[in-house]
Structures are given as structure tokens and as C-alpha cells.
């Protein structure tokens, strides 16, 4: 019954989306603004219905209802409840249902809370949102029904990919999806503004919170995904330039650019066409990413269902929405007047440079990801790996970091170079000193990119604090704090990446229980190896006593065997200290009684994710700061 209720809710939601599209189209066409009042409750009900449908699916997974095809092929009754729960979206159909649910709820939020926007732009936005949702409803209902039954019902299910049986998975995909869908709202806003030809500061202010929120969630999603790959895959790396990782990075790069250009539009009423373009690109990247993951045309550890029919469906949606938006852009944006002008030396031009560099990095990642497809079309099989991305994108990313340090110190409209020189004198001096020091110490032993990264991280960190210089800290607006913390986060993350590449010590040994291993100041005593059993796995676990001078700590890397489906995974043991992480992986039995151990000491590697969290926190502060200011304005107006 639950399954049927969920399916009915989904059909009803789709019908309401159609109604919402019809209402808003009629409203725009006939110039009837009052239809907005009718479209709003429709959007809210649609959101509620998608939520009901999703809850139904979660309930079916929690009850392990094996008469459901989706549950039977992705879950197992012996699975811990958290993974039954996460299993609801750890598959193609469930994750698409999650997508439309988040989209429905976002549409409801736009209908309920958006007050600043002109009524016609608001209506066009709701129309755009309904049009996008409709495509995904059709996709779900016609080609990926999550509520399909299986008859006869199997006695038990096939289980969830053990790599995905990890608390990280319970939260990583939903976070990314929230981010993607947030970008769909920004996209709808852009469509709305293009349709009504109102690309102005008010539009930018209405769109900004959605961009900020989506960007914060993408940042968190990528940070969590990177940490998951780091400890779960057991390769000791934190970013692999895997197509699916790139699929999450590309929307983030576009959203970062959009975030900055929307600020220029909101504050200075410049970069109108460009901002609209970026809003379209940002959502295109989410959809291209989804397409690459879902269609299986690129091989990746993340691929769920390889199914050309589904691939064609998403490709058709992509053609319809993005093609439509870009055509609308070409047709309408000529009518959008040029915004306010600015001089070459100004905050605006620094932000334009930021946007250009981010877009170049985006282009590099996109080309690198699609290149194997291009060459395959001409009959060659190649794969593009980390060296390409590191070498090409790395230097541009470092330039971007330098620009990030300078930009916030420039004034809006125009500034002079001499004054700027004074403001950045201290960080520039630091940069010169750290470069000289690092070249003296590390030339030859450290690679060029890590060396530059290390040299840049510290002065950029200092410079990112500079906007707080000589200000009363408590009276500084929250969004300035947000910017400072996010920029500092970038520097912290860069420091972590550079330290990891420059100073990691790796050791691969075959050891017998009882032996001890010394590496990077640590002493590891391999005490014993013994089998243990978990909920739905058995494992060989090594007990290793790790010490560095003082007290010893036990660490226990495992080599796990999951029975359903049968897979072996290695569970790395991590020991976090203030200045780094000890990372130990238990490998195969080398020969009688000796076991392979792979040991890494990674100095300051945790800074990478700490930086990521700081960037997201900065976004949250900026969001609160901006919105709070908006509320205050409203109250004042209400009082007056």
C-alpha cells in the first residue's frame, strides 16, 4: 500500500507541476499578475506531495519490503538500519526521486518566502521551476519508476555496494543534490528575468541567497565526498579527478563564479548578461554531471546503472532546458541594457578576473572529462589522468589564489595602484620571504606546484584577513566576516594540499605479527592479526600499537569481506594528530605469516577538509548576514 500511495503522490505532484506551468504561462501571456496568487499554493502542495512520495520510499526501505524491485535489488534485511535508510537514495531511481523531492520543496520555498522580486519575474521563475520539474517527473514515471513491484517477491535482497556502506554516504549525495537543485532555482530565476527582461540589482538580490545556499551545500558535499574517498577507498589520496568527482567540481566552479558576479550585480548593477549566463552554465554543469554519471558513457567507480535509455532521456532534458535557455539568452539578452561602467583597477575588474579564471579552470576540467569521449569518437581510446589536471589547472588555481588575496582590498568603481601597493605590502613581503625560504630548504626535493602552493598559502591567508584590519571587529558586517573566513579557508585548504604533496612519507612493508616498523618518527608494533565479525561482514583485523615518543595508541586496520554482495574492502585505520594523520592499510597476506602493510604519515592533511568546512561556514555567515539585513529593511519599512 505504501508503494502505491507514494506513486500516486508522485503522479499528483507531476499533474500540479503541469498546472503550475499552465497558470504561470497564462499569467505572463495575458499580463495577469493575480494568477501568481493561484500558482503559489500549487507550488507548495507540489512540494508536500514529493516529500510524501520520498518518505514512502524511505519507509519501504526501512521495512525491507522485498516485494519492491528497488528494495530487493539494493537492500538486504540483515543490513544495519542506517544503510537501509541510505539505501533509499544509493541507487538510480531513489536518487532521482530525491532530486525531484528537493526540487519540489525548493519550488515551494520560492513560492512561500520570495517577496522582493517583481510579481511577473516571480511568476516566470515559478513557471521555469515547474517546467524543469516536469521533465524530471516524466523521467521518473516513464523510465525509472522507484515504486515498481517484483513478482514473485524474492526471499531477500541483493544488498548495497559495501563501499557505500559508510556513514558518509548517508549524507554526501543528499548534500550535493541539494546544491544542484539550489542551482536549478538560480537557473529558473535567470529564465524568469530573461522572459520579463528585468536583469537588475533587485533580481540579483533575490537570486543571491539561493546561489549562496546551493554553493555552501556543494562545498560541503565535495568536502565530504573527498574525505570519504580518502578513507574508504584506502588509496591514501583525497582527489582522483574521477569523472564523477569532476561532475561535482564543475557546478561548484561555476557557482563560485556566479556567487561573485551576482554580488557585483547586486551592489553595483554591472555584469548583467554575464551573471545570467553563469546562472545558466552553473545548472548546465549540474545536469551534464548528472548525465555523465547516470548514462554510464564514462567509466567510473561511481556509476550506478548503465542504461542507454536513461542516458538518452537525460540528454533530451539537457537539450531541452539548456538549449532552450541558451537560445533565450541569445534572443533576449541583447535587449538587456549594459550595466554601470567601471575602471580597470577596481573591485569589479578583480571580480571579472576571478570569474574569467574560474571559467578557465572549469573549461579545463570539462575538456579533460570529455576528452576521452572526443577521441573515442575518432577511434582512439585514451584516459585523462591527474597529471593533465594538476599541471594545467594547478597554475591557474594558484593565480586565482593570489587574485583572491588582492581583490577584497580594492575599492569599488576605481582605485589607484599606489594605494593598493600600500595595502598589500605586508603579504607581498611575506610571499617573497616564504618563497626564498622554501626554495632554500626544499628546491629539488619538493615539486614545483607544492612548493609554490606552500609559498602562496601563508601570505594569502594573512592577506585574506586584511579586510578586517583597522575595523571594529564586532561592528564588521557578518557578510564581510563570511568572505574573510571563506577566503582564509581557501588558503588553509591549499596549505593542506601542498603539505600532503610535499611532505607525505609512504612505507610499504610485509610484516609478521610481533615485528615493529619505524617510519616518519612513529614506531608501529604489529601485535597480532585476528578475524572479527560485524553486522553483515567478517574481517581480518590487525592490532597495531602506534607510538611517537609518548603514550601508545592501538590502531586497527581491517580487510573486510562483505557477503551480500560478496566484496572485499579495506578499512584504513586513521590516527589524527594536530600536525597530521597516520594512515594504515592492511593488504594481502604476502607469504606464510607475513602481511602487507601500507603506512603513510601525512603532515597537515586534515587542513584540506578543515579549509573546506571554513569555506562553507563563510558562505553560511554571508547568507545570514545578507538575509538579516534584508529582514531589518522590511521591518523598518513595515514600521514607517
Amino acid at each position: 500500500m505504501i508503494a502505491e500511495a507514494g506513486l500516486i503522490a508522485l503522479w499528483l505532484a507531476a499533474a500540479l507541476a503541469l498546472l503550475q506551468l499552465a497558470l504561470t504561462t497564462m499569467g505572463l501571456w495575458g499580463g495577469k499578475d493575480e494568477l501568481l496568487g493561484t500558482a503559489r499554493p500549487v507550488a507548495v502542495t507540489q512540494g508536500v506531495l514529493t516529500a510524501i512520495s520520498f518518505c514512502a520510499l524511505v519507509a519501504l526501505f526501512l521495512r525491507s519490503d522485498m516485494s519492491m524491485l528497488l528494495v530487493a535489488s539494493n537492500s538486504h534485511s540483515a543490513k544495519p538500519w542506517l544503510y537501509k535508510f541510505a539505501g533509499a537514495w544509493g541507487n538510480h531511481e531513489g536518487s532521482m526521486l530525491l532530486w525531484v523531492t528537493v526540487m519540489g520543496m525548493a519550488g515551494a520555498a520560492v513560492a512561500l518566502f520570495e517577496r522582493a522580486l517583481r510579481r511577473d519575474t516571480h511568476m516566470a521563475t515559478l513557471g521555469g521551476q515547474a517546467a524543469i520539474s516536469l521533465g524530471f517527473y516524466a523521467f521518473l514515471l516513464f523510465s525509472s519508476n522507484p515504486f515498481a513491484r517484483i513478482d514473485p517477491a524474492p526471499t531477500n535482497g541483493q544488498g548495497l555496494n559495501p563501499l557505500l556502506q559508510d556513514p558518509g554516504l548517508a549524507f554526501h549525495p543528499p548534500t550535493l543534490y541539494l546544491g544542484y537543485v539550489g542551482l536549478s532555482v538560480a537557473f529558473s530565476f535567470a529564465i524568469g528575468a530573461l522572459l520579463t527582461r528585468r536583469v537588475d540589482a533587485a533580481f540579483a538580490r533575490a537570486m543571491r541567497p539561493w546561489v549562496l545556499a546551493a554553493w555552501v551545500l556543494l562545498t560541503l558535499g565535495i568536502t565530504a565526498g573527498s574525505y570519504w574517498a580518502y578513507y574508504e577507498l584506502g588509496w591514501g589520496g583525497w582527489w582522483f579527478w574521477d569523472p564523477v568527482e569532476n561532475a561535482s567540481l564543475m557546478p561548484w566552479l561555476a557557482a563560485t563564479a556566479l556567487l561573485h558576479s551576482v554580488t557585483v550585480l547586486a551592489t553595483r548593477d554591472s555584469l548583467r548578461a554575464w551573471t545570467v549566463m553563469l546562472a545558466v552554465i552553473a545548472f548546465s554543469m549540474s545536469m551534464v554531471g548528472t548525465f555523465l554519471v547516470r548514462s554510464g558513457i564514462l567509466t567510473s567507480v561511481h556509476a550506478f546503472a548503465v542504461d542507454p535509455e536513461r542516458g538518452s532521456f537525460i540528454l533530451a532534458l539537457l537539450a531541452l532546458y539548456i538549449g532552450g535557455a541558451l537560445a533565450l539568452f541569445g534572443w533576449r539578452v541583447g535587449a538587456v541594457r549594459e550595466g554601470a561602467p567601471f575602471r580597470p583597477v577596481s573591485r569589479e575588474s578583480a571580480l571579472v578576473m576571478n570569474n574569467l579564471l574560474l571559467c578557465v579552470v572549469l573549461g579545463i576540467v570539462l575538456i579533460g572529462t570529455l576528452y576521452p569521449l572526443m577521441t573515442e569518437a575518432f577511434g582512439h581510446k585514451v584516459s585523462v589522468g591527474a597529471p593533465y589536471f594538476d599541471r594545467i589547472a594547478g597554475p591557474i588555481a594558484l593565480t586565482l589564489m593570489l587574485l583572491m588575496a588582492v581583490g577584497p582590498l580594492l575599492r569599488w568603481r576605481h582605485d589607484n595602484l599606489a594605494a593598493l601597493g600600500k595595502r598589500i605590502a605586508v603579504p607581498a613581503l611575506l610571499l617573497a620571504l616564504s618563497l626564498i625560504a622554501l626554495i632554500a630548504i626544499g628546491a629539488g626535493t619538493i615539486g614545483v606546484l607544492p612548493l609554490l602552493g606552500l609559498a602562496i598559502a601563508i601570505p594569502v591567508g594573512v592577506a585574506s584577513l586584511a579586510p578586517l584590519w583597522k575595523r571594529k571587529l564586532l561592528r564588521t558586517p557578518l557578510f564581510t566576516w563570511g568572505m574573510v573566513i571563506a577566503h582564509l579557508g581557501c588558503a588553509v585548504s591549499l596549505a593542506g594540499m601542498a603539505c600532503d604533496s610535499a611532505f607525505t612519507v609512504e612505507k610499504l612493508v610485509a610484516a609478521r605479527p610481533g615485528e615493529s616498523i619505524r617510519t616518519a618518527g612513529w614506531t608501529l608494533v604489529f601485535e597480532r592479526i585476528a578475524p572479527i565479525a560485524g553486522d553483515n561482514w567478517t574481517a581480518l583485523q590487525a592490532d597495531i600499537r602506534a607510538s611517537r615518543g609518548g603514550g601508545a595508541v592501538m590502531i586497527r586496520p581491517q580487510s573486510r569481506f562483505f557477503t551480500l554482495p560478496p566484496t572485499a574492502t579495506s578499512e584504513a585505520a586513521l590516527l589524527t594528530r594536530w600536525n597530521g594523520q597516520l594512515y594504515v592499510v592492511l593488504g594481502q597476506e604476502a607469504d606464510a605469516g607475513r602481511w602487507q602493510l601500507r603506512i603513510w604519515w601525512k603532515p597537515f592533511v586534515t587542513l584540506i577538509w578543515l579549509g573546506g568546512i571554513m569555506i562553507a561556514l563563510g558562505g553560511v555567515l554571508a547568507l545570514i548576514g545578507r538575509e538579516r539585513r534584508g529582514w531589518r529593511h522590511k521591518w523598518r519599512r513595515a514600521e514607517a
Binding site: A72, S73, M277, I281, I297, P308, L370, A377, P565
Partner: protein, 176 residues
């Protein structure tokens, strides 16, 4: 270039990417990965019997002058149940099929064969997947074509669909 023309550049670029993706999607999928073990003799193994009414399986049973299939399956695997009719069809066509049951129990295998039919001549029980790994197989079901001299001629990954049956027969013919 005039600004008005410039505005259509994004659309043109997008259409180019779209055509590329559509082209890739339409072109025949090559999920066939040639195994490195093709042409190699089977690794040596000696597995206990997995079902009550079929003998055990040794690698030396395979070099008998007649090509055959080795099907890797498990009673807990849904696609294996889905491919059972195709295996029965191959058996009816006179193909010799040996099975390797992965991480299984005899009672479960018996129940599975009762329900879905038993196309196998011999079935070995690979309780810890060791033989499966030696064969370079990473999942169930998979099927190997073994030629008359006991060498691996082909590895089929995933279940055998109805339209794979004639291809399998061709491969067996070629492996004589």
C-alpha cells in the same frame, strides 16, 4: 564580431557538446573487456561438490576434447536466477556446462537448482571466492568458454541474455 552574434556562441558550443554526447550514446556500447586470461590454460583448482546430486569440480576435468562453459553463480544472486532459462536452453542444445558456486551452502544450492533447473554436469563449491579471483572474475554471474584443450577462450561478464545464447553457441563452435 558583432555583439549580437557573440550571444549565440554559447548555444553553438552547447550544441557541439550535445552532438558529441548523443553520438557516443548512440554508438554501440563496448562493455566487452577482453580478459588477459584469454588463451591461457585454466588455473589449477580442486573444488568440493556444491550440490548433493552432482560431482565435484577439478580443473583437470576440463580438458576432454570438447569445448564447454564454466558458469560462476550463486544461489543468493538474482541475475543468476534470471539467466537460468538461458543456461537450460544451452544445455538442451547439447552444451556441457560446469558450475562454480560462490560463497554458498549445499542446501541453498540444492534449493536454487530445484527451483530454477539444473543445467550443470559438475558443480564445485568456491566458499571463499579463491578460484573466482584466480579466474579474474569479480562478480556473479560470469561465464567462461573453455576450449577443447582446457584454455579460456572467452569471458562473459554479467548474465547471459536470450540474445547472447546464439553468440555463446558460435563461440563454443569456434573453440573446438
Amino acid at each position: 564580431m558583432k555583439r549580437s552574434l557573440l550571444l549565440w556562441v554559447p548555444l553553438a558550443a552547447f550544441v557541439a557538446v550535445l552532438l558529441l554526447l548523443a553520438g557516443r550514446l548512440a554508438s554501440p556500447d563496448d562493455h566487452v573487456i577482453e580478459s588477459r586470461l584469454v588463451g591461457q590454460p585454466l588455473p589449477a583448482f580442486d573444488l568440493p561438490a556444491a550440490a548433493s546430486d552432482r560431482p565435484a569440480l577439478r580443473s583437470t576435468d576440463m580438458a576432454h576434447g570438447k569445448p564447454r562453459l564454466v558458469n560462476i553463480f550463486a544461489s543468493w544472486c538474482l541475475p543468476c536466477a534470471a539467466e537460468a532459462p538461458q543456461l537450460m536452453a544451452l544445455r538442451r542444445a547439447g552444451v556441457e556446462i560446469d558450475g562454480i558456486a560462490i560463497r554458498d551452502a549445499r542446501a541453498d544450492v540444492d534449493a536454487f537448482l530445484n527451483k530454477h533447473g539444473n543445467p550443470y554436469t559438475r558443480i564445485g563449491l568456491d566458499a571463499r571466492s579463491t578460484v573466482q579471483m584466480a579466474l579474474g572474475s569479480s562478480g556473479v554471474p560470469e561465464t567462461f568458454v573453455i576450449d577443447a584443450r582446457g584454455r579460456i577462450a572467452h569471458q562473459h561478464i554479467g548474465d547471459i541474455r536470450a540474445d547472447d545464447v546464439p553468440k555463446m553457441l558460435q563461440r563454443l563452435e569456434a573453440a573446438r
